[in-house]
């Protein structure tokens, strides 16, 4: 026996409501976690030598970091910043 129109309408409405709820629930969970890393930039105060490495606790902008391998000048932390690591596909 073929289902009557009311049953079809009821099922269609139920299917719409359930799929809407599932999509909403999935959307709220899809918060991508962004990986980040902190970079410390070190520059020579006398020449144009510049290097960067991962941040170490105790680093601050203006901290002396030894001697320049190029000219022997003072190496100074010139910037500390965070950048996002691009996602691998």
């Amino acid at each position: 026996m073929a289902p009557d129109v009311m049953t079809i309408v009821f099922l269609a409405i139920m299917a719409f409501i359930i799929s809407y709820m599932v999509v909403t629930a999935l959307k709220s969970r899809q918060e991508p976690v962004k990986l980040k890393r902190t970079i410390t930039v070190i520059k020579c105060s006398s020449c144009d030598h510049e290097q960067s490495r991962d941040f170490k606790e105790g680093d601050f902008v203006g901290k002396e970091e030894g001697q320049c391998p190029k000219c022997g000048g003072k190496l100074i932390v010139s910037a500390i910043y965070v950048e996002e690591i691009p996602e691998k596909v």
Partner: protein
């Protein structure tokens, strides 16, 4: 009666009943109240988790500083040290009174931290102060949300509940940003709000610092024949210093012979703006409650000194979290703009004051 008449009459009955229920009863509002309250409950759980996480971070930091009972130190701080705004229906001296209250509060916090963390360095104590403040803010946010939620439930106020539910996404995002900011302060890393002090750092070159106000220093340097005085908070601990008082003192020290005062600060961007955009305008770029800003304005107006503002745009979350690459790019642009303003608008052999406003954590 055939089948089509049957479903048509059923549909009509459903429509009439549905219309009656929707228009003449509180059922839809009750259902919304139930929906919103269930959503808010979930968000309150999330806020509580963020608050607890924040507390764990503070306790971890205090443990690292060999504090005997870090939990007690934290509990003694949270909920205390509030500030009651001065009377404003009588505005005479309100700035003086506000400055007095702010400094009293700062002093009480400093003393509390000194008493409870006696063996830490100044930088560690300054960072601990901020961590305790953030923990206090997280507790306050959670309490306010719970307060409105419980009011909504108590009085079946579905409008209040709906407003709260709609605001909560932003509130949770802000709380999360505060929680993340703790990592930056624990590690002593520069934050977005440090854009102003970083501009000052780049401009100072090799100049030596001179203390001018509490936790505030100035440098004397030159640029193409112009004398440049650079003011910033004393780093690398977490402090904003007293830039207003510093500008006032420096202008008086120079007898008012200053061609311009340039303030550089981080500014909240609009959603359509990009992080790191730099804008130039007139006025004192400083986001304090009033006393520091008015001190700069008064010093400038007393001697008729033009007041310039350079701002680096960023979101609220970026301002309190570790400095991003985009903000750093903005800082570099701001340095060039400040130099251009000095070259174009300050006469040769003239002098200019540049003030890097903001929290100098991680910036010497």
């Amino acid at each position: 009666m055939d089948g089509s008449n049957d479903w048509a009459s059923t549909l009509l009955v459903i429509l009439i009943l549905g219309s009656f229920l929707l228009n003449f009863t509180d059922i839809p509002q009750k259902m919304q109240l139930w929906r919103y309250s269930s959503y808010i409950r979930k968000k309150i759980i999330q806020l509580t988790e963020i608050e607890d996480e924040g507390r764990r971070k503070v306790i971890k930091y205090l443990n690292r500083l060999n504090v005997e009972n870090p939990r007690k130190v934290l509990e003694g701080f949270v909920d205390n040290f509030f500030l009651i705004s001065p009377v404003n229906i009588e505005p005479t001296d309100i700035i003086k009174r506000l400055r007095h209250l702010i400094r009293n509060r700062d002093e009480s916090i400093r003393r509390y931290v000194e008493e409870n963390i006696p063996n830490a360095s100044l930088v560690q104590r300054q960072n601990a102060e901020v961590l305790l403040e953030i923990s206090s803010v997280l507790t306050l946010i959670n309490k306010i949300v719970k307060h409105y939620f419980q009011l909504g439930v108590k009085y079946n106020n579905w409008i209040l509940m709906m407003q709260l539910a709609l605001e909560l996404q932003q509130v949770v995002k802000l709380a999360k940003a505060y929680d993340d900011a703790m990592d930056a302060f624990m590690a002593g890393m520069p934050i977005g709000d440090g854009a102003g002090p970083l501009v000052a750092f780049y401009l100072k070159g090799d100049a030596k610092p001179v203390r001018i106000a509490k936790e505030t220093i100035y440098y004397e340097t030159s640029l193409d024949g112009r004398k440049v005085y650079i003011i910033k908070a004393e780093g690398p601990g977490s402090t904003v210093g007293w830039p207003g008082e510093a500008v006032e003192k420096l202008v008086n020290m120079l007898g008012g012979s200053v061609s311009r005062i340039i303030t550089v600060d981080a500014a909240l961007k609009l959603e359509s703006e990009k992080t790191g955009e730099v804008a130039y305008g007139v006025g004192a770029a400083i986001g304090d409650p009033g006393p520091e800003k008015i001190a700069i304005e008064r010093a400038a107006s007393r001697y008729g000194i033009p007041l310039d503002a350079v701002v680096i745009k960023m979101s609220n979350e970026e301002a309190i979290n570790s400095m991003t690459k985009q903000v750093l790019e903005g800082v570099k642009k701001a340095v060039e703009i400040v130099k251009k303003v000095i070259r174009d608008k300050v006469p040769e052999s003239g002098s200019v004051i540049v003030v890097g406003i903001g929290n100098t954590v991680g910036i010497a």
